[in-house]
Symmetry: C2
Subunit: 174 residues, 2 copies
Amino acid sequence: MEKLYITYNQIHETVKSLSQEIISADFKPDLIIAIGTGGFIPARMIKTYLNRSIQTVGIAYYDLNNIPSEKPVITQWLDGADEKLKGKKILLVDEVDDSRATIGFCLEELQKHDPEEIAVMVIHNKKKKKAREIPPQIRHYFIGENFDDQWICYPWDAENIAEHDSLSLQAGLE
Amino acid sequence: MEKLYITYNQIHETVKSLSQEIISADFKPDLIIAIGTGGFIPARMIKTYLNRSIQTVGIAYYDLNNIPSEKPVITQWLDGADEKLKGKKILLVDEVDDSRATIGFCLEELQKHDPEEIAVMVIHNKKKKKAREIPPQIRHYFIGENFDDQWICYPWDAENIAEHDSLSLQAGLE
């Protein structure tokens, strides 16, 4: 599978465009929720443009004893979730919509706390069969870029960031 | 006050060096704790090198109604903190040790849950008078770079990331 190397600055620029789209759509979140750990960096970037505070949730495919799990497992949840979410407009942030299992699970869990509205923002969406539908009550789904089902290499996973950037640049020149 | 512009890649390189220091010091964390929101990006970067999961805590100088506060306020805490922290070795991550009020407060709160050991990692330390001492039970305090009391501009706060990087480059050429 072809690998696609994305730099920090490319993600920052994509987040900036997303912020303009969110503002144009007149969606005004009370709160940003980052899905950890992939959503941490995009969420911190979008905070600069939207000026809202961030809460995080941790979703993983292993449990607290590091045993792999096929289903998503909550590794951290909001303390006082009812108080923080009820009647609020939430911007849920993750880096990628791949199979959508994580985002779908997270939406289901957040909706139990009766928010006014949840919008989703992802940097990248993979055009592929999804494990879940986006529920009809989600009116806003902000996608930075759509890709085919490629292997996306995020900068925060790079052991050698200079090499990562040079692989990204080479691909851009092809 | 002189402004110092730091790029994402510079921070990534600093985190890589810090990971080598942590490994050399034989400190093996069970868990990374990111202090939000400044610690989110450094914590996600160090995860790549240390391969440990991340929990987050939110500390701010405003309350949940956005009223400014002089003292640090907890905006998010660990759900099930006793279970997650008791007997564990924690790596607490933030971007900067400025007055040390946030880190000092956070250490005090975390220690209530009886971890085996907490080590602190910051990307930058400002050489200035601190509001708190690092408690004597903290044996490891990993600092990426020490600066004078300058205004550090982090890339995630940049509205224009290309301009930010060019200001960083210019400073490097002086």
